[in-house]
Symmetry: C2
Subunit: 264 residues, 2 copies
Protein backbone atom coordinates (compact mmCIF):
# COMPACT_ATOMS: atom_id res chain seq x y z
CA UNK A 1 0.00 0.00 0.00
CA UNK A 2 1.38 3.38 -0.99
CA UNK A 3 -0.82 6.45 -0.55
CA UNK A 4 1.67 8.89 -2.08
CA UNK A 5 0.32 10.74 -5.13
CA UNK A 6 0.92 9.93 -8.80
CA UNK A 7 2.54 12.83 -10.70
CA UNK A 8 1.00 13.85 -14.03
CA UNK A 9 2.42 16.53 -16.33
CA UNK A 10 1.60 18.27 -19.59
CA UNK A 11 2.38 21.61 -21.25
CA UNK A 12 -1.08 22.95 -20.31
CA UNK A 13 -4.67 21.76 -19.88
CA UNK A 14 -4.40 18.86 -22.35
CA UNK A 15 -3.13 16.38 -19.77
CA UNK A 16 -6.39 16.83 -17.86
CA UNK A 17 -7.93 14.47 -20.45
CA UNK A 18 -5.49 11.89 -19.07
CA UNK A 19 -6.01 12.88 -15.42
CA UNK A 20 -9.79 12.51 -15.86
CA UNK A 21 -9.40 8.91 -17.08
CA UNK A 22 -6.98 8.11 -14.24
CA UNK A 23 -9.45 9.46 -11.64
CA UNK A 24 -12.05 7.16 -13.17
CA UNK A 25 -9.88 4.05 -13.56
CA UNK A 26 -7.98 4.32 -10.25
CA UNK A 27 -10.40 6.12 -7.93
CA UNK A 28 -8.27 5.64 -4.79
CA UNK A 29 -5.20 7.36 -6.20
CA UNK A 30 -4.20 10.89 -5.23
CA UNK A 31 -2.48 12.93 -7.92
CA UNK A 32 -0.33 16.02 -8.47
CA UNK A 33 -0.91 17.61 -11.88
CA UNK A 34 1.58 20.06 -13.35
CA UNK A 35 0.68 22.19 -16.41
CA UNK A 36 3.81 23.95 -17.73
CA UNK A 37 1.73 26.92 -18.88
CA UNK A 38 4.67 29.35 -18.80
CA UNK A 39 6.25 27.42 -21.66
CA UNK A 40 3.26 26.10 -23.61
CA UNK A 41 3.09 25.01 -26.45
CA UNK A 42 5.57 22.11 -26.51
CA UNK A 43 4.52 20.91 -30.00
CA UNK A 44 6.58 23.25 -32.21
CA UNK A 45 9.73 23.13 -30.06
CA UNK A 46 12.77 21.02 -30.83
CA UNK A 47 13.68 17.76 -29.04
CA UNK A 48 16.53 19.25 -26.94
CA UNK A 49 14.21 21.86 -25.45
CA UNK A 50 11.44 19.32 -24.69
CA UNK A 51 13.98 17.03 -23.01
CA UNK A 52 15.28 19.91 -20.88
CA UNK A 53 11.77 21.02 -19.82
CA UNK A 54 10.73 17.41 -19.04
CA UNK A 55 13.78 16.75 -16.87
CA UNK A 56 13.07 19.94 -14.88
CA UNK A 57 9.44 18.90 -14.30
CA UNK A 58 10.23 15.32 -13.30
CA UNK A 59 12.82 16.65 -10.82
CA UNK A 60 10.17 18.96 -9.36
CA UNK A 61 7.53 16.21 -9.09
CA UNK A 62 10.03 13.94 -7.31
CA UNK A 63 10.55 16.68 -4.69
CA UNK A 64 6.76 16.50 -4.17
CA UNK A 65 7.12 12.85 -3.11
CA UNK A 66 5.22 11.26 -6.01
CA UNK A 67 5.45 7.47 -6.42
CA UNK A 68 5.15 7.32 -10.23
CA UNK A 69 4.92 9.86 -13.07
CA UNK A 70 2.62 10.00 -16.10
CA UNK A 71 4.03 11.99 -19.02
CA UNK A 72 0.54 13.15 -20.06
CA UNK A 73 1.83 14.97 -23.14
CA UNK A 74 2.42 13.08 -26.38
CA UNK A 75 5.18 15.47 -27.50
CA UNK A 76 7.15 14.94 -24.27
CA UNK A 77 6.42 11.19 -24.39
CA UNK A 78 7.69 10.98 -27.97
CA UNK A 79 10.77 13.11 -27.48
CA UNK A 80 11.80 12.86 -23.82
CA UNK A 81 10.54 9.61 -22.24
CA UNK A 82 13.57 7.51 -23.20
CA UNK A 83 15.93 10.16 -21.84
CA UNK A 84 13.87 10.51 -18.63
CA UNK A 85 13.96 6.74 -18.07
CA UNK A 86 17.76 6.78 -18.33
CA UNK A 87 18.08 9.57 -15.75
CA UNK A 88 15.38 8.74 -13.19
CA UNK A 89 14.57 5.46 -11.43
CA UNK A 90 10.94 6.38 -10.58
CA UNK A 91 8.32 4.49 -12.67
CA UNK A 92 7.47 6.64 -15.72
CA UNK A 93 4.54 6.07 -18.09
CA UNK A 94 4.20 7.78 -21.50
CA UNK A 95 1.39 8.05 -24.01
CA UNK A 96 2.80 6.29 -27.07
CA UNK A 97 2.85 2.56 -26.30
CA UNK A 98 -0.57 2.14 -24.72
CA UNK A 99 -2.20 4.35 -27.36
CA UNK A 100 -0.72 2.38 -30.26
CA UNK A 101 -1.71 -0.93 -28.62
CA UNK A 102 -5.33 0.29 -28.41
CA UNK A 103 -5.24 1.43 -32.04
CA UNK A 104 -3.71 -1.82 -33.23
CA UNK A 105 -6.46 -3.80 -31.48
CA UNK A 106 -9.21 -1.50 -32.79
CA UNK A 107 -8.35 -1.43 -36.51
CA UNK A 108 -10.01 -3.87 -38.92
CA UNK A 109 -8.79 -2.57 -42.30
CA UNK A 110 -5.29 -1.77 -40.95
CA UNK A 111 -5.54 1.91 -41.99
CA UNK A 112 -4.56 3.99 -38.96
CA UNK A 113 -4.24 7.78 -39.09
CA UNK A 114 -2.27 9.72 -36.49
CA UNK A 115 -2.75 13.42 -35.77
CA UNK A 116 -0.48 15.31 -33.39
CA UNK A 117 1.79 18.29 -32.86
CA UNK A 118 4.73 19.00 -35.13
CA UNK A 119 7.17 17.60 -32.54
CA UNK A 120 5.23 14.36 -32.13
CA UNK A 121 4.65 13.79 -35.85
CA UNK A 122 8.24 14.63 -36.83
CA UNK A 123 9.45 12.08 -34.26
CA UNK A 124 7.34 9.33 -35.96
CA UNK A 125 6.98 7.85 -32.47
CA UNK A 126 3.41 6.59 -33.03
CA UNK A 127 4.20 5.30 -36.53
CA UNK A 128 7.33 3.43 -35.43
CA UNK A 129 5.50 1.84 -32.52
CA UNK A 130 2.53 0.81 -34.72
CA UNK A 131 4.88 -0.71 -37.29
CA UNK A 132 6.63 -2.72 -34.58
CA UNK A 133 3.24 -4.05 -33.42
CA UNK A 134 2.22 -5.01 -36.96
CA UNK A 135 4.36 -4.30 -40.04
CA UNK A 136 1.25 -4.61 -42.25
CA UNK A 137 -0.49 -1.56 -40.78
CA UNK A 138 -0.86 1.33 -43.22
CA UNK A 139 -0.19 4.57 -41.34
CA UNK A 140 -0.77 8.18 -42.32
CA UNK A 141 0.57 10.94 -40.08
CA UNK A 142 -0.61 14.56 -40.02
CA UNK A 143 0.80 17.42 -37.93
CA UNK A 144 -1.87 19.88 -36.71
CA UNK A 145 0.15 22.71 -35.12
CA UNK A 146 -2.73 25.17 -34.60
CA UNK A 147 -5.01 22.83 -32.64
CA UNK A 148 -3.29 23.28 -29.26
CA UNK A 149 -3.41 27.11 -29.37
CA UNK A 150 -7.08 26.96 -30.41
CA UNK A 151 -8.03 24.48 -27.64
CA UNK A 152 -6.05 26.49 -25.07
CA UNK A 153 -8.25 29.47 -26.14
CA UNK A 154 -11.31 27.44 -25.09
CA UNK A 155 -12.50 26.94 -28.68
CA UNK A 156 -14.05 23.45 -28.95
CA UNK A 157 -16.36 24.01 -31.94
CA UNK A 158 -17.46 26.70 -34.43
CA UNK A 159 -16.15 28.14 -37.70
CA UNK A 160 -12.50 28.77 -36.70
CA UNK A 161 -12.06 25.17 -35.60
CA UNK A 162 -13.90 23.92 -38.70
CA UNK A 163 -11.54 25.83 -41.02
CA UNK A 164 -8.45 24.59 -39.19
CA UNK A 165 -9.71 21.00 -39.15
CA UNK A 166 -10.51 21.23 -42.89
CA UNK A 167 -6.89 22.14 -43.58
CA UNK A 168 -5.51 19.24 -41.57
CA UNK A 169 -8.11 16.48 -42.01
CA UNK A 170 -9.02 16.88 -45.68
CA UNK A 171 -5.84 15.03 -46.79
CA UNK A 172 -6.81 12.11 -44.49
CA UNK A 173 -10.27 11.51 -45.98
CA UNK A 174 -9.12 9.61 -49.07
CA UNK A 175 -6.93 7.38 -46.88
CA UNK A 176 -10.17 6.15 -45.21
CA UNK A 177 -8.73 5.28 -41.78
CA UNK A 178 -11.00 3.09 -39.66
CA UNK A 179 -8.95 4.15 -36.61
CA UNK A 180 -7.69 7.63 -35.77
CA UNK A 181 -5.16 8.23 -33.01
CA UNK A 182 -5.75 11.53 -31.21
CA UNK A 183 -1.99 11.82 -30.81
CA UNK A 184 -2.04 14.83 -28.49
CA UNK A 185 -3.71 14.82 -25.10
CA UNK A 186 -5.49 18.09 -25.96
CA UNK A 187 -7.42 16.56 -28.84
CA UNK A 188 -10.06 14.58 -26.88
CA UNK A 189 -11.49 18.03 -26.02
CA UNK A 190 -12.47 18.42 -29.71
CA UNK A 191 -13.22 14.76 -30.43
CA UNK A 192 -16.77 15.41 -31.61
CA UNK A 193 -15.66 18.14 -34.05
CA UNK A 194 -13.01 15.75 -35.41
CA UNK A 195 -15.51 12.87 -35.83
CA UNK A 196 -17.73 14.99 -38.05
CA UNK A 197 -15.03 15.18 -40.73
CA UNK A 198 -15.19 11.49 -41.55
CA UNK A 199 -18.11 9.77 -43.28
CA UNK A 200 -16.93 6.29 -42.20
CA UNK A 201 -17.02 7.03 -38.45
CA UNK A 202 -13.49 5.88 -37.51
CA UNK A 203 -12.72 4.73 -33.96
CA UNK A 204 -11.01 7.62 -32.18
CA UNK A 205 -8.24 6.49 -29.84
CA UNK A 206 -8.01 8.70 -26.74
CA UNK A 207 -4.50 8.42 -25.23
CA UNK A 208 -5.80 9.08 -21.70
CA UNK A 209 -8.31 6.23 -21.88
CA UNK A 210 -5.70 3.87 -23.29
CA UNK A 211 -3.17 4.76 -20.60
CA UNK A 212 -5.64 4.59 -17.70
CA UNK A 213 -6.92 1.16 -18.79
CA UNK A 214 -3.40 -0.14 -19.05
CA UNK A 215 -2.43 1.37 -15.69
CA UNK A 216 -5.13 -0.70 -13.95
CA UNK A 217 -3.01 -3.73 -14.91
CA UNK A 218 0.49 -2.34 -14.95
CA UNK A 219 0.81 -0.20 -11.79
CA UNK A 220 2.85 -2.42 -9.43
CA UNK A 221 0.85 -3.81 -6.50
CA UNK A 222 3.17 -2.21 -3.93
CA UNK A 223 2.54 1.26 -5.40
CA UNK A 224 -1.25 1.13 -5.17
CA UNK A 225 -3.28 3.25 -2.78
CA UNK A 226 -5.60 0.60 -1.44
CA UNK A 227 -7.37 2.30 1.40
CA UNK A 228 -6.88 5.98 0.85
CA UNK A 229 -9.94 7.49 2.59
CA UNK A 230 -10.33 10.28 0.06
CA UNK A 231 -7.91 10.89 -2.77
CA UNK A 232 -6.50 14.41 -3.08
CA UNK A 233 -5.95 16.01 -6.49
CA UNK A 234 -3.50 18.91 -6.50
CA UNK A 235 -2.78 21.23 -9.43
CA UNK A 236 0.28 23.31 -10.22
CA UNK A 237 0.98 25.66 -13.12
CA UNK A 238 4.12 27.56 -14.06
CA UNK A 239 2.20 30.70 -15.10
CA UNK A 240 -0.68 32.36 -13.23
CA UNK A 241 -3.44 29.81 -12.48
CA UNK A 242 -6.49 31.91 -13.53
CA UNK A 243 -6.25 31.06 -17.20
CA UNK A 244 -5.60 27.35 -16.60
CA UNK A 245 -8.54 27.23 -14.19
CA UNK A 246 -10.93 28.83 -16.66
CA UNK A 247 -10.38 26.07 -19.25
CA UNK A 248 -9.96 23.32 -16.63
CA UNK A 249 -13.35 24.14 -15.07
CA UNK A 250 -15.02 23.82 -18.47
CA UNK A 251 -13.49 20.43 -18.89
CA UNK A 252 -13.80 18.98 -15.38
CA UNK A 253 -16.97 20.61 -14.01
CA UNK A 254 -17.84 20.06 -10.31
CA UNK A 255 -14.13 19.83 -9.63
CA UNK A 256 -12.07 22.08 -7.37
CA UNK A 257 -8.99 23.81 -8.79
CA UNK A 258 -7.02 25.34 -5.92
CA UNK A 259 -4.19 25.65 -8.42
CA UNK A 260 -0.83 26.95 -7.20
CA UNK A 261 1.79 28.70 -9.32
CA UNK A 262 5.33 27.37 -9.03
CA UNK A 263 8.66 28.26 -10.64
CA UNK A 264 10.79 25.42 -11.99
CA UNK B 1 30.77 57.47 -33.76
CA UNK B 2 29.92 54.05 -32.37
CA UNK B 3 29.91 51.04 -34.69
CA UNK B 4 28.70 48.58 -32.07
CA UNK B 5 25.41 46.86 -33.00
CA UNK B 6 21.91 47.74 -31.83
CA UNK B 7 20.17 44.85 -30.04
CA UNK B 8 16.60 43.97 -31.07
CA UNK B 9 14.45 41.32 -29.42
CA UNK B 10 11.03 39.70 -29.77
CA UNK B 11 9.39 36.40 -28.86
CA UNK B 12 9.76 35.15 -32.46
CA UNK B 13 9.70 36.44 -36.03
CA UNK B 14 7.40 39.42 -35.31
CA UNK B 15 10.21 41.77 -34.37
CA UNK B 16 11.61 41.38 -37.90
CA UNK B 17 8.90 43.86 -38.96
CA UNK B 18 10.72 46.32 -36.69
CA UNK B 19 14.22 45.23 -37.78
CA UNK B 20 13.22 45.75 -41.42
CA UNK B 21 12.20 49.36 -40.75
CA UNK B 22 15.41 50.00 -38.77
CA UNK B 23 17.56 48.65 -41.64
CA UNK B 24 15.72 51.08 -43.93
CA UNK B 25 15.78 54.15 -41.62
CA UNK B 26 19.31 53.70 -40.24
CA UNK B 27 21.20 51.93 -43.04
CA UNK B 28 24.63 52.24 -41.39
CA UNK B 29 23.65 50.45 -38.21
CA UNK B 30 24.64 46.87 -37.46
CA UNK B 31 22.15 44.84 -35.41
CA UNK B 32 21.83 41.70 -33.30
CA UNK B 33 18.32 40.24 -33.40
CA UNK B 34 17.15 37.74 -30.80
CA UNK B 35 13.92 35.74 -31.29
CA UNK B 36 13.02 33.92 -28.06
CA UNK B 37 11.44 31.05 -30.03
CA UNK B 38 11.89 28.51 -27.20
CA UNK B 39 9.36 30.48 -25.16
CA UNK B 40 7.04 31.95 -27.78
CA UNK B 41 4.26 33.13 -27.49
CA UNK B 42 4.65 35.94 -24.94
CA UNK B 43 1.10 37.27 -25.42
CA UNK B 44 -0.87 34.94 -23.13
CA UNK B 45 1.71 34.90 -20.33
CA UNK B 46 1.49 36.92 -17.13
CA UNK B 47 3.52 40.09 -16.41
CA UNK B 48 5.98 38.44 -13.96
CA UNK B 49 7.00 35.87 -16.55
CA UNK B 50 7.44 38.46 -19.32
CA UNK B 51 9.56 40.62 -17.01
CA UNK B 52 11.78 37.64 -16.13
CA UNK B 53 12.24 36.63 -19.79
CA UNK B 54 12.98 40.25 -20.84
CA UNK B 55 15.61 40.73 -18.12
CA UNK B 56 17.36 37.52 -19.22
CA UNK B 57 17.42 38.66 -22.86
CA UNK B 58 18.66 42.18 -22.12
CA UNK B 59 21.45 40.69 -19.97
CA UNK B 60 22.41 38.42 -22.88
CA UNK B 61 22.39 41.26 -25.44
CA UNK B 62 24.59 43.39 -23.18
CA UNK B 63 27.17 40.56 -23.14
CA UNK B 64 27.11 40.85 -26.96
CA UNK B 65 28.34 44.45 -26.65
CA UNK B 66 25.26 46.20 -28.03
CA UNK B 67 25.01 49.98 -27.65
CA UNK B 68 21.20 50.24 -27.36
CA UNK B 69 18.27 47.81 -27.25
CA UNK B 70 14.92 47.83 -29.06
CA UNK B 71 12.19 45.88 -27.28
CA UNK B 72 10.59 44.89 -30.62
CA UNK B 73 7.68 43.11 -28.94
CA UNK B 74 4.64 45.06 -27.80
CA UNK B 75 3.85 42.61 -24.98
CA UNK B 76 7.36 42.98 -23.51
CA UNK B 77 7.27 46.76 -24.11
CA UNK B 78 3.93 47.04 -22.31
CA UNK B 79 4.79 44.79 -19.39
CA UNK B 80 8.57 44.89 -18.92
CA UNK B 81 10.05 48.14 -20.31
CA UNK B 82 9.64 50.16 -17.10
CA UNK B 83 11.25 47.39 -15.05
CA UNK B 84 14.10 47.03 -17.59
CA UNK B 85 14.79 50.78 -17.47
CA UNK B 86 15.11 50.60 -13.68
CA UNK B 87 17.62 47.73 -13.84
CA UNK B 88 19.76 48.58 -16.87
CA UNK B 89 21.50 51.82 -17.83
CA UNK B 90 21.76 50.99 -21.57
CA UNK B 91 19.37 53.04 -23.78
CA UNK B 92 16.14 51.02 -24.21
CA UNK B 93 13.39 51.75 -26.75
CA UNK B 94 9.91 50.17 -26.62
CA UNK B 95 6.99 50.07 -29.03
CA UNK B 96 4.24 51.86 -27.11
CA UNK B 97 5.14 55.56 -27.08
CA UNK B 98 6.20 56.06 -30.68
CA UNK B 99 3.27 53.98 -31.96
CA UNK B 100 0.70 55.98 -30.01
CA UNK B 101 2.28 59.28 -31.13
CA UNK B 102 1.90 58.18 -34.77
CA UNK B 103 -1.72 57.14 -34.17
CA UNK B 104 -2.55 60.37 -32.40
CA UNK B 105 -1.15 62.38 -35.31
CA UNK B 106 -2.96 60.23 -37.89
CA UNK B 107 -6.50 60.25 -36.49
CA UNK B 108 -9.04 62.80 -37.69
CA UNK B 109 -12.24 61.54 -36.03
CA UNK B 110 -10.41 60.59 -32.80
CA UNK B 111 -11.60 56.96 -32.99
CA UNK B 112 -8.55 54.76 -32.53
CA UNK B 113 -8.75 50.98 -32.31
CA UNK B 114 -5.94 48.88 -30.82
CA UNK B 115 -5.45 45.17 -31.51
CA UNK B 116 -2.82 43.15 -29.68
CA UNK B 117 -2.04 40.06 -27.61
CA UNK B 118 -3.89 39.32 -24.37
CA UNK B 119 -0.91 40.56 -22.31
CA UNK B 120 -0.68 43.86 -24.20
CA UNK B 121 -4.42 44.56 -24.19
CA UNK B 122 -4.89 43.63 -20.52
CA UNK B 123 -2.09 46.06 -19.63
CA UNK B 124 -3.99 48.92 -21.38
CA UNK B 125 -0.54 50.33 -22.21
CA UNK B 126 -1.57 51.72 -25.63
CA UNK B 127 -4.87 53.09 -24.29
CA UNK B 128 -3.26 54.82 -21.30
CA UNK B 129 -0.59 56.37 -23.49
CA UNK B 130 -3.18 57.56 -26.07
CA UNK B 131 -5.32 59.10 -23.33
CA UNK B 132 -2.30 60.96 -21.94
CA UNK B 133 -1.62 62.37 -25.43
CA UNK B 134 -5.24 63.46 -25.88
CA UNK B 135 -7.99 62.78 -23.33
CA UNK B 136 -10.63 63.26 -26.06
CA UNK B 137 -9.53 60.22 -28.06
CA UNK B 138 -12.10 57.42 -28.15
CA UNK B 139 -10.25 54.11 -27.87
CA UNK B 140 -11.43 50.55 -28.41
CA UNK B 141 -9.12 47.67 -27.51
CA UNK B 142 -9.36 44.09 -28.78
CA UNK B 143 -7.17 41.13 -27.80
CA UNK B 144 -6.46 38.73 -30.69
CA UNK B 145 -4.69 35.77 -29.02
CA UNK B 146 -4.69 33.40 -32.00
CA UNK B 147 -3.00 35.75 -34.48
CA UNK B 148 0.58 35.15 -33.31
CA UNK B 149 0.31 31.32 -33.52
CA UNK B 150 -1.26 31.64 -36.99
CA UNK B 151 1.43 34.06 -38.26
CA UNK B 152 4.20 31.91 -36.76
CA UNK B 153 2.71 29.06 -38.86
CA UNK B 154 3.36 31.16 -41.97
CA UNK B 155 -0.36 31.80 -42.62
CA UNK B 156 -0.72 35.34 -43.98
CA UNK B 157 -4.05 34.95 -45.85
CA UNK B 158 -6.77 32.39 -46.65
CA UNK B 159 -9.86 30.99 -44.91
CA UNK B 160 -8.35 30.19 -41.47
CA UNK B 161 -7.07 33.74 -41.09
CA UNK B 162 -10.37 35.15 -42.40
CA UNK B 163 -12.38 33.23 -39.78
CA UNK B 164 -10.07 34.30 -36.96
CA UNK B 165 -10.08 37.94 -38.10
CA UNK B 166 -13.90 37.85 -38.34
CA UNK B 167 -14.09 36.83 -34.69
CA UNK B 168 -11.79 39.62 -33.55
CA UNK B 169 -12.51 42.49 -35.96
CA UNK B 170 -16.29 42.21 -36.31
CA UNK B 171 -16.84 44.00 -32.95
CA UNK B 172 -14.62 46.89 -34.18
CA UNK B 173 -16.59 47.64 -37.34
CA UNK B 174 -19.41 49.61 -35.69
CA UNK B 175 -16.83 51.70 -33.79
CA UNK B 176 -15.63 52.99 -37.19
CA UNK B 177 -12.00 53.71 -36.26
CA UNK B 178 -10.15 55.90 -38.77
CA UNK B 179 -6.87 54.67 -37.22
CA UNK B 180 -5.98 51.12 -36.21
CA UNK B 181 -2.88 50.36 -34.14
CA UNK B 182 -1.31 47.03 -35.10
CA UNK B 183 -0.36 46.62 -31.46
CA UNK B 184 1.81 43.54 -31.93
CA UNK B 185 4.92 43.50 -34.10
CA UNK B 186 3.70 40.30 -35.81
CA UNK B 187 0.61 41.99 -37.25
CA UNK B 188 2.21 44.00 -40.09
CA UNK B 189 2.73 40.58 -41.73
CA UNK B 190 -1.07 40.33 -42.16
CA UNK B 191 -1.78 44.04 -42.69
CA UNK B 192 -3.50 43.54 -46.03
CA UNK B 193 -5.83 40.84 -44.66
CA UNK B 194 -6.69 43.17 -41.77
CA UNK B 195 -7.39 46.15 -44.08
CA UNK B 196 -10.00 44.18 -46.01
CA UNK B 197 -12.25 43.98 -42.94
CA UNK B 198 -12.94 47.70 -42.87
CA UNK B 199 -15.02 49.57 -45.44
CA UNK B 200 -13.67 52.99 -44.34
CA UNK B 201 -9.99 52.13 -45.01
CA UNK B 202 -8.49 53.13 -41.63
CA UNK B 203 -4.83 54.13 -41.36
CA UNK B 204 -2.91 51.14 -40.03
CA UNK B 205 -0.15 52.10 -37.62
CA UNK B 206 2.87 49.79 -37.93
CA UNK B 207 4.89 49.92 -34.67
CA UNK B 208 8.16 49.21 -36.50
CA UNK B 209 7.71 52.14 -38.88
CA UNK B 210 6.80 54.46 -36.01
CA UNK B 211 9.80 53.40 -33.96
CA UNK B 212 12.30 53.57 -36.82
CA UNK B 213 11.14 57.08 -37.83
CA UNK B 214 11.47 58.28 -34.27
CA UNK B 215 14.88 56.62 -33.87
CA UNK B 216 16.26 58.73 -36.73
CA UNK B 217 15.74 61.70 -34.41
CA UNK B 218 16.19 60.21 -30.98
CA UNK B 219 19.26 57.97 -31.20
CA UNK B 220 21.97 60.04 -29.48
CA UNK B 221 24.62 61.41 -31.85
CA UNK B 222 27.46 59.69 -30.00
CA UNK B 223 25.79 56.27 -30.49
CA UNK B 224 25.46 56.52 -34.27
CA UNK B 225 27.45 54.41 -36.71
CA UNK B 226 28.49 57.11 -39.13
CA UNK B 227 31.02 55.39 -41.32
CA UNK B 228 30.40 51.70 -40.86
CA UNK B 229 31.60 50.26 -44.21
CA UNK B 230 28.95 47.53 -44.30
CA UNK B 231 26.51 46.92 -41.49
CA UNK B 232 26.29 43.37 -40.16
CA UNK B 233 22.95 41.85 -39.14
CA UNK B 234 23.21 38.86 -36.81
CA UNK B 235 20.35 36.61 -35.73
CA UNK B 236 19.94 34.44 -32.65
CA UNK B 237 17.08 32.17 -31.59
CA UNK B 238 16.56 30.18 -28.40
CA UNK B 239 15.12 27.15 -30.24
CA UNK B 240 16.50 25.55 -33.42
CA UNK B 241 16.92 28.16 -36.19
CA UNK B 242 15.35 26.20 -39.10
CA UNK B 243 11.79 27.14 -38.29
CA UNK B 244 12.62 30.81 -37.62
CA UNK B 245 14.55 30.97 -40.89
CA UNK B 246 11.70 29.51 -42.93
CA UNK B 247 9.33 32.33 -41.91
CA UNK B 248 12.06 34.98 -41.80
CA UNK B 249 13.07 34.25 -45.41
CA UNK B 250 9.47 34.72 -46.55
CA UNK B 251 9.40 38.07 -44.87
CA UNK B 252 12.88 39.42 -45.66
CA UNK B 253 13.72 37.88 -49.05
CA UNK B 254 17.26 38.33 -50.45
CA UNK B 255 18.49 38.41 -46.87
CA UNK B 256 20.94 36.00 -45.23
CA UNK B 257 19.93 34.24 -42.03
CA UNK B 258 23.02 32.55 -40.60
CA UNK B 259 20.96 32.23 -37.41
CA UNK B 260 22.62 30.76 -34.32
CA UNK B 261 20.86 28.99 -31.47
CA UNK B 262 21.73 30.17 -27.97
CA UNK B 263 20.61 29.23 -24.46
CA UNK B 264 19.71 32.05 -22.06
Amino acid sequence: MDNRPIGIFDSGVGGLTVAKEIYRALPNESTIYLGDTARIPYGPRSPDIIIRFSHQIVSFLITQNVKAIIVACSTASALALASLKKSFSIPLYGMIETTTQSASLATKNGHIAVIGTKGTINSHAFKNCLTRLNPNHKILEQACPLLVPVIEEGIFDGPILTQILSKYLFPLQTFKPDTLILGCTHYPLIASAISQFFSNDPTLINPGEALASSLIESLPEKLRAKSCPKPIHQYYTTDKPEYFNRIAEQFLPHHHFPTKQISI
